[in-house]
């Protein structure tokens, strides 16, 4: 992979990249964005960089329009007009102001969302070239996609942290805070609405998009996120008897949101209702996006997150459950953890000499380990015998210290424990759904892995610690953010919306904690070993 060396604000960073996109697009997924205001079409002339070494190709007509010959001869170029193919060393002359919002690492996060067919949706009159915004409200991250509705054409993506984080990393803590205090409930709703507004503003300024063109906003999320957004019934979601029943989480009035976002005043805001108290519309959207019940069966779907949702399609029945395993997959609460973004160790490979090699996302400096890196690291430590399947370091060690990308990191026993608890919840979910549907784990013909966690996941590592069933790797689909992809589908197509309704009507819910033998099964799945198959 060629390497991009970027100098910005006096520091130098090395970023391996896949050739294809423009320099601006490559930088957009990193921490080092260049200023821009025209969606990268060479119209605004803001994205100035200076080529220090390497081949950047001939200057385009747009560049000659914006840059004087003297600047061009010094190596000054527009990042959106350069498509690097080899190693390139540049300095960012005009860095973008700091933002909480970034482009997702690549299109796989959206699993084909960009290729959705033309819409068959009713379009409002009076708005020319109407746009539609799809939003996935996750416990940890918010992800958005903007489309041209008339042409079904993708325009922009953004993702950023869910600002409700300050009220707790998991849904139960946030729901408890909301049901205990009307002020907290109101603030949590306000925070998310404001965050969506910020993301829209980032798109508007950077892509040169008039927000008044946005004619509809479709939102999916887990039930807790929808209840906290709408400010309704958070307290009901805390009661186990409501977990397998529908709970009304829909907002009563969204005109204030529309005004705050500065979108078309007649815009329609469509919050897709959750399936039940503990299974959100994000899961339903994911099943739509993966054509789950139209593909090979028996099939398993796992949306990894703080509250993971799992579905099993036997070919006749659709069983659904939720496994609250904690935020370990998003690497939250992990001492050396960080989200899957630039600077995260995402892969750990064994080397011939017995050492370990660490791969870092979009940077040569490590800041922490993301979920997939954690899975790899644990799997490698077990392989080399430094960690036991019980989760104990050998020789009484309390952790594993390592150094990579100029940073000293330690994987503690507590970190491993958090991953064990999270993966045990998934293991129990898989085993219980399979046994209910009368399917043996080894019969599975399709395994869909959804969520940002799956993007960098090494399937063999995940299987070796029991996070995924032992099926041939080609049967595992790393599907990315299927919740957002399905939300886009439903926004753009009434056919997809109809499929979602159908899934809602046939899904059968299971509460794992009420299954007989839950505790034994949970304990068995705490071991870091392959999932049992019978």
């Amino acid at each position: 992979m060629p390497v991009l060396v970027v100098r910005v604000n006096g520091a130098t960073h090395s970023i391996p990249y896949e050739p294809g996109p423009s320099l601006r697009d490559i930088l957009d997924v990193t921490e080092y964005r260049v200023r821009s205001a025209c969606h990268g079409i060479g119209a605004c002339g803001l994205c100035r960089v200076c080529v220090i070494a390497g081949e950047a190709g001939e200057a385009t007509q747009n560049e000659r329009l914006h840059l004087l010959p003297a600047l061009l001869s010094q190596g000054v170029r527009l990042a959106c007009q350069i498509r690097p193919k080899q190693d390139l060393h540049v300095e960012i002359l005009n860095p973008a102001p700091p933002s909480n919002w970034k482009s997702p690492p690549d299109a796989t996060l959206l699993q084909g969302a960009h290729k959705r067919g033309a819409g068959d949706r009713w379009l409002p009159s009076g708005v020319r070239h109407p746009g539609g915004l799809a939003v996935d409200l996750g416990t940890t991250n918010l992800c958005l996609s903007l489309f041209d509705l008339a042409r079904g054409k993708w325009l922009a993506d953004r993702w950023g942290r869910n600002p409700q984080h300050r009220y707790g990393a998991d849904v139960v803590t946030r729901l408890a805070a909301a049901s205990g205090s009307p002020d907290a409930a109101q603030e949590m709703s306000r925070l998310v609405i404001a965050a969506i507004g910020e993301a829209l503003l980032d798109i508007a300024t950077r892509e040169g998009f008039d927000l008044r063109r946005v004619a509809c906003v479709t939102l999916v999320g887990n039930s807790a996120m929808l209840a906290l957004l709408s400010g309704r019934n958070a307290e009901l979601l805390l009661r186990p008897e409501n977990w397998t029943r529908p709970v009304d989480c829909l907002p009563r009035d969204t005109s204030g949101w529309v005004a705050e976002w500065g979108i078309d005043s007649a815009a329609e805001v469509d919050v897709l209702a959750p399936l039940a108290g503990f299974v959100g519309s994000d899961l339903l959207a994911g099943l739509v996006a993966t054509r789950f019940i139209e593909g090979a069966s028996p099939a398993l779907f796992i949306d990894f997150g703080t509250n993971s949702e799992i579905a099993l399609w036997s070919g006749k029945e659709l069983w659904v459950t939720a496994a609250a395993g904690g935020p370990a997959f998003e690497s939250s609460g992990i001492g050396c953890g960080m989200p899957a973004e630039a600077g995260a160790v995402f892969r750990v490979e064994a080397q011939a000499d017995g050492g370990l090699n660490y791969l870092i996302i979009g940077d040569d400096r490590a800041r922490g380990v993301c979920g997939s890196g954690l899975v790899d690291l644990i799997a490698r430590l077990i392989e080399v015998g430094r960690l036991t399947p019980v989760g104990r370091f050998v020789n009484g060690a309390t952790g594993f210290a390592f150094s990579t990308g100029g940073t000293d990191l330690t994987l503690s026993k507590n970190d491993v424990d958090l991953m064990q608890r999270a993966k045990a919840a998934i293991g129990v979910g898989i085993r219980v759904l399979c046994s209910r549907a009368g399917v043996s784990v080894k019969e599975l013909r399709r395994v869909c892995v959804a969520g940002a966690f799956g993007r960098y996941l090494d399937i063999a590592s995940a299987q070796s610690i029991g996070l995924l069933p032992m099926v041939p790797p080609e049967k595992v689909e790393l599907a990315g953010n299927t919740a957002l992809a399905g939300c886009c589908d439903v926004m753009l197509s009434s056919l997809a919306a109809g499929r979602l309704d159908h899934l809602r009507s046939i899904a059968r819910l299971l509460n794992l904690a009420q299954q007989p033998g839950f505790e034994e099964l949970f304990m068995e799945n705490l071991y870091l070993q392959p999932l049992r198959e019978d």
Partner: protein, 213 residues
Amino acid sequence: MINPEMNKLVETLLEGDHAAALAEARRLRTAGMASERIVTEGLEAAMQRLDDKCTVESFNLLEIMLAGRAVSAVVNELYPEGMPPERGRDTFVIATLEGDIHDLGKNVTKMVLIGKGYRVVDLGKDCPVENLVNAVEREHAHAVLVSGLITPVIPQVRRVRPALAARGLGGVRVVAGGAALKQATAGELNVDYVAETAFDGARYLDSLARGAV
């Protein structure tokens, strides 16, 4: 100080190897050791070590559960009819109250208490306060332990002491624990003690048994 005869039992319990622990307990008994000594000098020593290890966070959930399962297996072997109340140690009633079905924390606490030689009556999860009070009366319990992971269970916790008092059981201590409850004070929950961990709760009950509180 661990009785050297107990070394192997303590070690197998801490390893969570319940088959080996069971075999060792049988061997000790065949060799003539009284069940009571196996509990007080073996199981309690293992629990003390586990407590020390948990304090420094070097035991994970699986290890605690494995050790707990091994302790339970040994207790069941020594006292197949259940621990006799006349052993002189206190009896406690433990439950996850109505509205909550998370009982992992409760089960860990139960294992710790059994390991310390107490008699524990487990009423399971989603347990009405009424059943709790009936059990206290029936079993002559010295204390009740209630666990709650989720906050909606708090009103039920507050009802426990008045319900006990209404039956003339006002002297029975109430201990609360679990994610939702440990964030509140004893006063807010109307209980005698809020335990930070299973071991913290057990230490409080130890001090009760010694008459220190």
